[in-house]
């Protein structure tokens, strides 16, 4: 037994020695006195170039800290960024961007209109991961001309109201570095992460999933408030936040009480841009061709209950018009379906259909399905639940192999052209989440309005069309949006409180403006 004790004692001694030596402290090599270091939960999401970050996850946002774009996403709408002003021709085919002067690349060279032209042309040849300029397999850009040192004219193949944002979001890359690059996917040297954005990548460790960004001293724009931004590996976000290893975390509503009424913490509710939606397959189940059947379904679902029981209150019931509350063009006047069994039964007219609901095996989806089953049964609709692994569900959705599909995804805050890609027949070539639209559903009004709004360059006119579109969608319910999650974040304001939302996205940490001085 003595031996065991000795071993234990030795192990303990080693542990204490390690602690005493105090290793693991982050020695900042900064010489600027007290630099503000903000730490966030890390995880490997690729080398932050427009080509090497991973397809999923927050890699794109890390890349955007380094690479600026012509416009930036503000709290209400797009705001001037590398472009001070812009002008769109009446026919919607010519965009002229007037660039800011005295912008520098992070290697000290000046950024000019040539770089802008080069970037757009390079992206046509080599579409980056977050490419938004290829529609239906072809680039929208016809030609890019440099009018003078700080004016660029871009001609596109057809008017598209969502294009300003898309052009404005393209990342600018330095010509003098990238013109030599033939295979951008495998271009991973230190030169590959030189942009003209507010942060310089100092360190990246793939295995640990750690990133270290430092403020770019010669940045043209708003002064960075955060000097050093670190993404560090954590095993559990809440534990790491409590120990002060990270300065902001997402929390589940069950833990709110832990941080409420405490000066040290600030809790914020995210905008509802992530949500669950049911899709009806009209091909497999012709019963759904009948609008009454779809509306009956809408009345038989208790969204409020789903919000309370599944999302634990951190959500809002979705709008039947699809665009969520919080979307800049949300129409509050559309028809909504309260939970009403009597109305559902009235619309069913004594029918008692049976459907199979396809879901993934995630906890939330299983809970949603169980609650749907119970409330639909009260109205006389039988639901058989088929729960499969997420990837299997995705594959089935893509092929249209389901009767009713449950799916959760983000991006509900995006450009209102969403409505076209989600509801118009055959329009979903670039729709990420919905496989192939609504099988068997086509509505001329929705198709026409969808096509019309995208070529309406006048903002107010377009908004009116989008409002109308939401009304028809709410009346038709070819898809049934269930709820949009809000989610909570908690942070220590004393450490840093500059967190801001973009108008169309729900994550403050993804927002470049969160780290910069307010304008």
């Amino acid at each position: 037994m003595n031996k065991v004790c000795k071993i234990m004692a030795a192990a303990l001694a080693v542990a204490l020695l390690v602690l005493a030596s105090g290793c693991g402290g982050n020695s900042l090599s900064s010489d600027r006195g007290k630099a503000l270091v903000v730490n966030l939960a890390g995880g490997d999401c690729g080398y932050p170039t427009p080509y090497s970050h991973y397809a999923r996850g927050p890699g794109m946002f890390k890349m955007q800290l380094i690479f600026d774009s012509l416009l930036e996403r503000g709290e209400k709408d797009y705001i001037p960024w590398l472009a001070e002003k812009w002008d769109v021709s009446a026919d919607g085919k010519v965009y002229t961007f007037f660039l800011r002067q005295n912008v520098k690349w992070q290697d000290g060279k000046p950024m000019t209109a040539e770089d802008v032209k080069f970037s757009f042309e390079y992206f046509i040849l080599h579409p980056p991961l977050g490419d938004e300029l290829t529609l239906n397999g072809k680039s929208v850009i016809e030609k890019v001309e440099v009018l003078n040192d700080h004016t660029v004219k871009i001609t596109v193949d057809q008017p598209n109201a969502a294009l300003l944002g898309r052009l404005g979001q393209a990342r600018m890359i330095p010509k003098h570095i990238w013109e030599k690059v033939q295979d951008p996917q495998n271009f991973n040297g230190p030169e590959a992460v030189i942009g003209c954005g507010p942060y310089v990548l100092k360190e990246y460790n793939k295995e640990l999933g750690a990133y270290k960004f430092e403020a770019f001293k010669e940045y043209w724009g708003p002064k960075p408030r955060v000097d050093v931004l670190q993404f560090v590996p954590v095993s559990d976000n809440i534990l790491a936040f409590d120990k002060g290893e990270i300065d902001l975390t997402v929390i589940s509503p069950d833990l709110l009480s832990k941080y409420q009424d405490n000066e040290e913490f600030k809790i914020q509710k995210n905008p509802p841009f992530w949500g669950y939606c049911l899709t009806f397959n009209l091909e497999r189940r012709p019963e759904f061709q009948d609008k009454n059947m779809r509306q009956a379904f809408a009345y038989a679902v208790d969204r409020q209950e789903l919000v309370e029981k599944v999302a634990r209150g951190a959500a809002v019931p979705a709008s039947a018009g699809y665009l969520p509350t919080g979307h800049i063009w949300y129409n509050p006047g559309v028809r909504q379906y309260e939970f009403n069994i009597a109305k559902a039964q009235e619309l069913l007219k004594g029918r008692t259909p049976e459907f199979t609901l396809l879901i993934s095996n995630s906890n939330d989806e299983v809970r949603i399905a169980e609650l749907l089953k119970i409330s639909c049964a009260r109205a006389g609709i039988g639901l058989k639940i088929r729960s499969v692994d997420g990837k299997t569900r995705d594959a089935a959705a893509k092929k249209g192999e389901y009767e009713i599909l449950l799916n959760g995804y983000g991006g509900w805050g995006g450009d209102a052209d969403l409505l076209r890609s989600v509801y118009a027949a055959g329009a979903n070539a670039d729709s990420a989440f919905l496989g192939r639209g609504i099988p068997g559903y086509s509505n001329t009004q929705i198709n026409d309005l969808g096509a019309q709004q995208i070529i309406t360059m006048d903002r107010e006119k377009r908004k009116a069309l989008i409002f109308r579109l939401q009304e028809i969608i709410a009346e038709e319910v070819p898809r049934l949006p269930l709820y949009n999650t809000t989610g909570y974040i908690v942070y220590r304001p004393a450490k840093y409180d500059g967190w801001r939302y973009m108008f169309d996205h729900h994550e403050v940490t993804h927002n470049k403006l969160s780290y910069l001085a307010g304008q």
């Binding site: 037994m1 020695s27 080398y47 360190e203 095993s235 120990k243 995705d394 496989g435």
Partner: protein, 320 residues
């Protein structure tokens, strides 16, 4: 030699299965219908997907993909990860060191510790010390390793704050010399190692206890006692040598289990090893990477089993 043939055949079956499995799972690396809350799913156009599939040979019939796969493997090329933009071999190499050291160190410790405890238990057979220890060990060996891991994480890192919560070493730390760096790595590894040790300890304890009991009932032990040798001398000088044979072989044979445990433990501690990578690669259906990792684990386990066979022959003259 015949043994070697058996192993080669087994390995061949494994690589064939390895090839088929990911392709039989529905879903592909390009379909991201649902994105996690903090994700923005970026989609590939059909054209891009077709180009990818052509590049990786996913558009060819299975048979020619298989031929290509075997051919590549013979050339030491086990694929390129679509998602991570990196050679699979390079990715595994970078992470293998973390996992292998985690596994070997914990295996070594649990083997030695288990043997010592088992021997004592056998010596004090049926007394209260033995009975208590036996109960303790049995209970520990039945708890899944990730639960033990969570327990240690909670006690060691959260309540006491003695250990880091996660990772293999401190990110961005600048070390003046190799020693503090070593200590930092040890500091991060302590909890994961401890978890794996506790999870496997019972197994070695039971084997060595049984084996020791058999040996202690032999005549030559009684002779040794008759000669008046000390307890320690008898236990660790005479008995252990013979009792250790099954323990040593078990050590090699249990490598597979330990790898399994390491996968779970790495995910609890977010340890940058192959196990953590494996979970990620399965989540995103990265065929090439899944295959590479399974291949790596299968090769490691088979090699060890083969070594165990060889060693057993060496240690035990009766098997020839």
């Amino acid at each position: 030699m015949r043994k070697f043939g058996e192993y080669a055949l087994t390995f061949f079956c494994i690589i064939t299965l390895n090839f088929l499995l990911p392709r039989l799972i529905p879903g592909d690396p390009f379909t991201f219908l649902a994105a996690d809350t903090d994700e923005v799913a970026i989609t590939c156009s059909e054209e891009q997907i077709a180009r990818y599939k052509e590049y990786y040979g996913l558009d060819k019939p299975l048979s020619s993909q298989y031929v290509q796969y075997i051919d590549n493997m013979l050339h030491g090329y086990i694929g390129y990860s679509i998602y991570y933009h990196e050679d699979v071999l390079a990715m595994i190499e970078k992470r293998a060191a973390w996992t292998v050291s985690l596994v070997t160190v914990s295996l070594g410790i649990s083997c030695v510790l288990g043997t010592i405890l088992g021997s004592f238990s056998a010596w004090k057979r049926n007394r209260s010390f033995d009975q208590r220890l036996y109960l303790l060990m049995i209970s520990f060996s039945e708890i899944p390793s990730f639960l033990i891991g969570l327990f240690f994480l909670f006690i060691g890192a959260v309540c006491l704050g003695w250990f880091p919560l996660s990772g293999g070493m401190s990110p961005f730390a600048v070390f003046a010399s190799p020693l503090p760096k070593m200590l930092d790595i040890v500091h991060h590894a302590l909890l994961p190692v401890l978890t794996l040790v506790v999870a496997r300890l019972g197994e070695f304890y039971l084997i060595s206890r049984n084996s020791m009991l058999t040996v202690l009932s032999k005549d030559y032990i009684r002779t040794a006692q008759g000669k008046g040798l000390t307890k320690k001398r008898i236990l660790f000088g005479h008995a252990l040598r013979n009792a250790a044979i099954p323990v040593v072989t078990r050590m090699f044979l249990s490598l597979g289990h330990v790898f399994g445990g390491a996968v779970l433990v790495e995910n609890v501690f977010r340890y940058p090893g192959v196990g953590y990578l494996m979970r990620e690669s399965v989540m995103i259906r990265d065929y090439a990477l899944i295959q590479g990792i399974f291949l790596f684990i299968a090769a490691a386990v088979l090699t060890m089993n083969f070594a165990a066979d060889m060693l057993y022959q060496k240690l035990d003259p009766r098997i020839r």
